[in-house]
Each structure stands twice: as C-alpha cells, then as structure tokens.
Symmetry: C2
Subunit: 556 residues, 2 copies
C-alpha cells in the first residue's frame, strides 16, 4: 500500500475521445468517466474503440465508485463494456447527474446489465463517500445538460477533474457553471487540476449556447420550403431551440434518426425539452403537410454513413425524400476527421437542388468547450498547485500547459502526460511514475478484445490488393500433384487478365510441387511456405501488386 | 457531322480533380487538360483515379491538339495514361506554357513515352491552328508559374476555359494575369466561359502570393532552432520565397522529398528559382550545421503517408531526425479530405516537442484560386453569352452560377453541368445534349482499367471482416467427405475464440457434406454454394460478423 495519490489517465490524452481516469489512494479506486472513441478508417471494420482497462482487471472490488461527468459517448460510452468485462456482480455504483444517469441506464439496458448495476443520480453539492475519497459533483455548462466537474478530496488535498466544460454565462436552462464553488475550492487551495484542453487553440471565449436560437429563427424565417436541421442528438438545448424557432413560425416538427428520437425522449421525460401539444409529427406525415409548414430535425451532422441525413442526401431514406427548394441547416461543425464525409453529404444535397446553410453562413452553432480565456479563468478560479491538462491531443495539451504558465503556474508543476502515465502525488510533491499498460481495445461485431495487429494488418493487405487462394492436392504416397491445382481470387481487379494469369499460376504451382517432390519435401507447412513464396513472387512480377497468397495443400 | 460546337467535360464537375474537357466542332477535337484525382479511402488500394476517356477511344486521329493549362496533377497527371491508351503513334501534339511542358516531358519520360509525343512550348499570344479551332493561351496567375487560360475560337465564336486562376496583382514573378487580352475577348463578345469554381464560396479576393514571403521571414526570425517548411512542391514561387527568407537569415537550405527536388530542379533550369551559390545542402549534411543555420524544405504538407514530413514526424526518416526545439512551418492549408492526416502529423510533431506554425498562426499561405470577387471580375471582363461553371463540386458550381446571375448573366444562359453532359451550341443557342459515357478509371499497380465494382466490393468486405477459406475434400466415387476439412482465416480477430470456432466450423462443413451426400448432390458448384450459405450463416450466428466465405471442394 502506497500513501501516494495516483492519477492515471487510461484514455483522452494524446487523442480526442475515450476519456477515462483512475484515481487511486490507499489502494482504493474512483474511476472518473468511461468513454469510447469512434474508429478511424485505418481500423478496418472495427466498430468502436475502448480504453485498455487491463489496469483494472481483477480489481473490481477495489473500485469504490464510477463517476460520469456527462452523457457524451466519449465519457460514458464504454461503461457497459467495462462493467461486463470487470464482472457485474461486484460492480461499483455509478454516479452522475440526472440526465447522465438516465443515459447510462439506457445504455446498460441495451446491454442487459441494468439489473446488476446500481446507477445513482447525484445532486450538486451532495457528497459521495467513496473509501478514502470524498467526491462532489460541481455543476458546469457544456453542450449537454447536467454536465459536472468532479472534485475528489483525500487527506492530501483536492483533485478537480473538470470534464468537458465552458463558462456559458447565459445557458439555455438558466443554470451557469457553479463558479462560486470553484472559487471556494481555489481559496482552500486545489492540489491538482485536470482540465479540458479541447479548445486550447481558440482565442477568446466560446459563444453562449443561447446565440443559436435567434440565429436559427432568423435563418428559418428566410426559408420558403421545408427545413431540415441537423445537430448532435445529445445537444438537448439545441433541439429545444430548434423546436422554439419552428413554433414561432408555426411549423410542425418531425424527429428523424434513432438517437435523435431516443435523446429527445429522455430530455422530455426529465423536463429539459418542452414541445407544444400536437406539434410533433411522424416521418410518414411529413409529406402530408405543405413544405413551408415542416421542420425535420435529423441525425447526421457528421456525415455518418448510416445516419438519416446521409441517407436523405443519397435519396435512400425510407420516409423523407428531399427535393429542390428544401433547406438543410447544419447546426454543428464537423469534428476533426469528419470533414470529408460532411462535405460529401453537403454536395449531394446541392446536387438534389437543396439550399445548405452551415455555421459559415450564420452563427447557428456554439462549441461546448471553453476557449483559451475560459481555460485561464478555470485556472485562476481554482488556483491549483499542480496542473495536468486532460482531454486533448498532444498539441492541445501543450497549448493548455502554455496557458497555465501564462497565469503563473510554475513550469515544473505542469505535467504534460499521456495515456498510461500515472501522476503520483505525496507530501513531497508530484512526479510521473512508471508507465502502466494502456492503449486501445476494439469492439468488432459482438466481441471485444485485443484485435491483434495481425488481423488488422491482414485486413489492410486484403483491402489494398485482395487475396489469391491456391489449393494443391498431392498424393500421400509420393507427394506428386493430383489433378489440377485450384486458383481462386477475391478483390483482384482486371479479371480478364487474371484469367490468363490463373493458368500461369496453375503452371507455377505445378512447377513448385514438382520441385518439392524432387527434393522430397513432404512436410505440409514447408510445402505451403514454398508455394506461398513462389506464388507471391510470381504474382508481384505479373501484376505488380502484393495480394495475400493463401496456399492450401491437401494430401490424399 | 454536326455543325454544333460541343463542350464535353469528362472530369472536374461535381468533384475537385481530374479536369479534362473535350471541345468538338465539325468532328474535330481539341482536348483541354488531362488531369487525375487521388483516391478516397473507400477506393481500397487504388493508386490513382483518371477520367473515363471512352468517348475518345478510336478517335485519336480526330484530336487536333491537347492543351494543358498548367502543371498540376489534376490538369496534367492523366496525360501519359491517356496517350498510352489512345495509342501514341498517332498521338496529337501537346501544347502549353514552358514550365507546364517541362513537367509534361518529365511525366512522359517516366512512362517512356517522350520519344513518341510532340510536346510544344507555347508563348502567350501565339496562335495554334488546330483544325477548325484557333487556340490561344492567355497568361494567368495561379500557385504555379506559367498557368494559362485557353481561348478556342471557331466560326461560332470563342470559348474560354480559364483553367485554375487568381487575379494576383503583385505576383512573385511580376507577371500579372493578362487582363488586357481578357478584356479584348469580352469586347469581341465571348460565346462561352468555362471558369474555375474552386473558391466560389469565399468572399473577397485571394491574397497575393507575395504576402507569404515577408510573413515567412517574420516567422523564421523568431525561430531559435531548425526550421522545417512544408508546402506544395509545385509551388515554385513559394519555394523561392522560403529560399529568400532563409538567405536573409543566413541559413542553409535542404530540399527533402522526391517531388520537391524534382520540381525545384525544373524550376531552376527554367529560371523560376534562384538559389545563391553554396546555399543548398544535402539531407545528410543537415546534422553538420548548427540548428539555427538550417531550413529544411519538405514535401508532406497534406500529411501524405509516405511523404518526407510524415516520416520525420513518425521518427522514420532515414536522414532528418527532428527533435525538441525544431519549428515546423505549414505553408499550405489542407485540401478538403486531408484534414485528419495533417492533424495527425502535427500532433506527432508536438509529441516530439517541435513547435508547429500553421496558416492559423500567420498569413504564410495564399490560395491559388480566385475568390468570389475575382470570379465576378472574370465574368465582367469577358462578358460571356453563356456560362458553364467548371472545376468544382456541385456546391461550388451552384455558387458560381449565382455569381454569374449577380453580374447580370440571364439564368437560362447559365449551364450547371456534370461530367459526361455535353453542352451543345449552334446558331440557335445552347443546350445540354444526351449524356455521354463518363466516370472513373482506376490505376491499380501497373494496370489501368475499369476496376470492377465486384473487386472493390470484395476488398471492402475483406477489409471489414476478413475471410474464411474452407477446403473440403470429397470422394469422386460417392461424394463422401475424405479426411478433415481445412479451415483457414485471415483478418478475423480474436484468434483464440476463432480456434474454437474452427472446430465448430469443421463440424458444420461435415454436416453440410453429409446432407449433400444424402441428397446426392455432386455438382461442385452447387456443393460450394451450399457450403458457402451454411457457413456464412454459421459464422454470422457465432461471430455476428460477415467475413467473406470461400469454399473450395476438391474431388479425389
């Protein structure tokens, strides 16, 4: 047992996504957030990316609590996978704000885990006792209601994990961030601040969420035909503002896309979204109303392949068919990496003849993450002794560090970390300790696990050049070739040419088999290796490509 | 023979890239540009994308000339492929500015075609007689020297294809666009303007290329360590400005990356780039000079996987090793779609400890394409009767059309086209005619051709879920299974589990074979179909994935 406090990020540093942090003191653990990431195109066929939680395996009974700062996938999405893997029978309780916990329950339901896990709504100011930690949620503003920072106090002092936040002075629900409590923590003296770095590269302050409403109304009022608005489904306040603008113009509202319907339902049940009676219509009813009487609110703001908007843009949506005169309003900006998918969607919309309004045309979006002045405000409010920038790629962590320096934090007290690198704090100070296992776990189909590099490398190879399969049948007696070798291929273009190549390949296989028979090579593995090497060389020579070559030798 | 003039874009409309246009009159053809595109990630393993030139097949003797507006890949890159496919023996002459033709020769050299093709430097104002067309190049400014618009005159009037252009009033080489000649064409009355739409969404005018120089010098003068600058290798004037800034600070210059060296050599041989004696050093010598005495000019501004900068960022460059204190200057913006690759590169640089300066930090880049006011200026200078926006996705073509309306072109005279849709103009007016074949040709390895949808679909399937290969050996006599079936897989993760699955798969194969034997099904194709269907269902049931299943039945 060590008397040092360990802060071990398992995700969210050097990347945007899969936020998850272990806080450990006296061998007891509180976990803050359990998020996931979406795969990049190189992660061929992978569905989701989770933090590697090897560090927690076998330690479920040491975990006092899991605290979720807010309901976004990159903070909450890994929860069911984590609990299933650690074992739900001893699962620690999960704490968070009311909306966050409603979303957590919905997720655990989908994974049939909700009966086994205690999910507890926490009010601001309420104290959670979690072993050696006193845990408190502090209300923050973000692009989803009920976002919180988490203060974790031990006898060494208080660590604040901010979660995602902005200092919205005029939030839609009238509840600004609890700067009073943050200032109190600062007066008491914060030990460590682990703060959101997402917008450490943007000067100034993020615009308030309330700017979106009047601008959406302004845009809508100039639209003559139907309006389709797309935004993040979890941005409950944005959805409310779209509903308000539609109501002001006497338009009906139709929700399209699974997550849009689900989140709006959760939002309505908790009183975050209010829709006037009779205003909501179903997708099948859209065509029954005049174009100028309809607003469709849709998923797909990131150009996601299977999203409702993408399908509409490609004329592939079962219920809503777009036509010239419709206006599509993107009330969101592309997350870095999604630009191409978003641009493709927009271009298809122009091809249909739709008008498209984006954040470049009107201020109809506000980021949920504080800009540089807000990051400095957080530092000045909480006056931390140590600073460890969280939630950002290396660039933003670096820039967050510079901001901390600019408000007077000593450079040696700023810890620019990475996933798996624990910051260890005791009475003598803070320092990075030995790196722990960290990385990515892939979800692929129903399974989660370490998708081996081999499988991904194979997929990459297959995707680039396809595969040749060669089946050679040899006699058990003398190793001589029996019948014609079979050659098949998939993902290899120029079939006409390949047909010719196929005959040549057969001949090459026969030559290899003859050579092997002559050299009395009978061991199947060795034979297959020879076939592989000869064939790969032959195919490269002929096609200047390196498809996978899979030789199968059948002995009869 | 028709007396109408046809303007048939085979690429560049509804997309950015692979610009190529057929102008046809009295069955004679002039081709303007022969460009290519780089593949998107969905085009698994494809190296390059060319326009489909089916329309030109068998018509090489009808082509009077190929005119290239400038040396960028999206206007020139397809030339060797086109000439090889059409047949070089009757190849028409290729015309363009001196630098453009030097680049064309270099390309044809690489494809061993330069002996067979006449490549002719054309001076501004010089007239090319090309059958019923009088062709004239008009000097324009762009992000590469020697860019031209092409005026093609028949007895119906003059068509102007602008190529890529901006109206840079203070270009680096002191040669602004020939507005005088454009105005003359306008006074005579232009029949049709086919103009660049790339920046139809940007208000105002593009900044002059000459703004980059002083800003680069300003950035450099604040760097204490080494400086690595990345930009487009073909942006000869930018390279010159980097060299000038380095010279002013008494730093040596090292060129890194194949295309950077090649283009700079061509630029020097034509007098576009001047480097003081003794200033250039080789990559191996970089380490021999003090950090503050070196500027490296590198390829990789778009985060290209094999580029010099990307390799440096991943600590994988054979000669140049970056370290903390180096500053990397991105004197280019990401082309839409490359944002993720560029951001990844930048983040690796931050991880090394480099400082990174981009166009967000200082005005060290200027677009080569005119903004909205320049597009309007072009319209007002040339006063075309008909307008057909070129070089842009559907969004930009739409916006270009709006700009034409805004300067007084009648909406019915604005033709928003697409690839393969010929605009036909005769004495009675202009209209779109029947669509011609158009699309993409893929270059894959050494081959070009129609990579079948099947091959790409297969690659996509292989990349997402891998492949199972099952080899069953049956007796020629009674169809009974001989020995154990072989089951192999590639690109399927969770090998441990799959090992178990493999046994189950074998059993499933045996069951299918038994059933087939019982039903006296002996036809190999049918048997393989049965195996495929049973196995695919079995694998989906077990793994909830749909890998490709390739059954091979060997009869012995």
């Amino acid at each position: 047992m060590t008397s040092a406090l360990r802060v071990l990020p398992l995700g969210g540093l050097g990347e945007i996504g899969k936020n998850m942090t272990v806080l450990e003191y006296e061998d007891r653990i509180v976990l803050v957030d359990a998020g996931l990431r979406f795969p990049t195109p190189e992660m061929m066929g992978i569905d989701l990316v989770l933090p590697d939680f090897a560090y927690l395996r076998g330690r479920v009974s040491d975990i006092e609590a899991i605290v979720i700062t807010h309901g976004h996938e990159d903070h909450l999405g890994c929860l069911p996978f984590l609990l299933r893997e650690l074992g739900v029978h001893d699962a620690p309780p999960v704490y968070g704000g009311a909306l966050t916990m409603a979303m957590a329950r919905s997720k655990l339901d989908e994974h049939k885990l909700s009966k086994d896990v205690e999910v507890i709504d926490v009010k601001d100011g309420e104290m959670i006792e979690a072993g050696p930690f006193d845990v408190e949620l502090i209300h923050m503003t973000h692009s989803i209601p009920d976002a919180s920072a988490v203060a974790l106090t031990t006898d060494l002092g208080t660590v604040l994990v901010t979660g995602d936040y902005k200092f919205d002075q005029t939030p839609v629900d009238g509840r600004p961030a609890d700067v009073t409590r943050l200032a109190e923590l600062g007066r008491e003296g914060l030990l460590l601040l682990c703060g959101d770095s997402t917008n450490a590269d943007r000067p100034g302050m993020a615009p308030s969420e309330t700017i979106a409403g009047p601008n959406l109304l302004d845009v809508f009022s100039r639209c003559k035909g139907r309006i389709v608005v797309t935004s993040f489904a979890s941005n409950i306040h944005r959805v409310q503002q779209v509903v308000d603008a539609a109501a002001a113009l006497d338009r009906k509202v139709c929700l399209v896309g699974r997550s849009m319907k689900k989140n709006t339902n959760i939002g309505r049940s908790l009183g975050h979204i209010k829709v006037p009676e009779g205003m909501l219509i179903g997708p099948r009813d859209v065509a029954k109303f005049p174009d100028e009487k309809v607003v469709v609110i849709s998923t797909g703001s990131q150009g996601e392949p299977l999203s409702a908007l993408r399908r509409m843009a490609y004329k592939d949506h079962p219920q809503v068919e777009l036509h010239a005169g419709d206006t599509v309003v993107f009330s969101a900006t592309p997350i870095p990496g999604n630009e191409r998918a978003v641009n493709e969607t927009i271009d298809r919309l122009y091809h249909i003849g739709c008008d498209v309004i984006t954040t470049k045309d009107a201020p109809i979006h506000a980021s949920g993450h504080g800009y540089r002045e807000e990051i400095k405000l957080m530092l000045n409010l909480t006056k931390p002794r140590y600073v460890m920038p969280f939630h950002g790629d290396f660039k933003r962590i670096h820039l967050h560090g510079k901001l901390a320096e600019s408000v007077g934090v000593a450079p040696e007290n700023i810890f620019k970390g990475e996933n798996g690198l624990p910051l260890q704090i005791d009475a003598k100070g803070a320092r990075f300790a030995k790196k722990e296992q960290s990385g990515m776990i892939f979800v692929d189909g129903v399974d989660i696990g370490d998708v081996t590099d081999v499988a991904l490398r194979d997929r990459r190879m297959l995707s680039a050049d396809g595969i040749f399969v060669v089946v050679a049948t040899i006699s058990e007696n003398d190793g001589s070739s029996v019948g014609e070798p079979e050659v098949m291929f998939r993902g290899v273009p120029f079939v006409d040419e390949a047909d010719k190549v196929r005959d040549q390949l057969r001949a090459s296989v026969e030559r290899t088999l003859d050579r092997a028979a002559k050299d009395e090579i009978r061991e199947i593995d060795l034979l297959q290796q020879m076939l592989h090497d000869d064939l790969a060389a032959f195919v490269y020579d002929k096609l200047k490509r390196r498809p996978m070559v899979l030789p199968v030798v059948v002995e009869v």
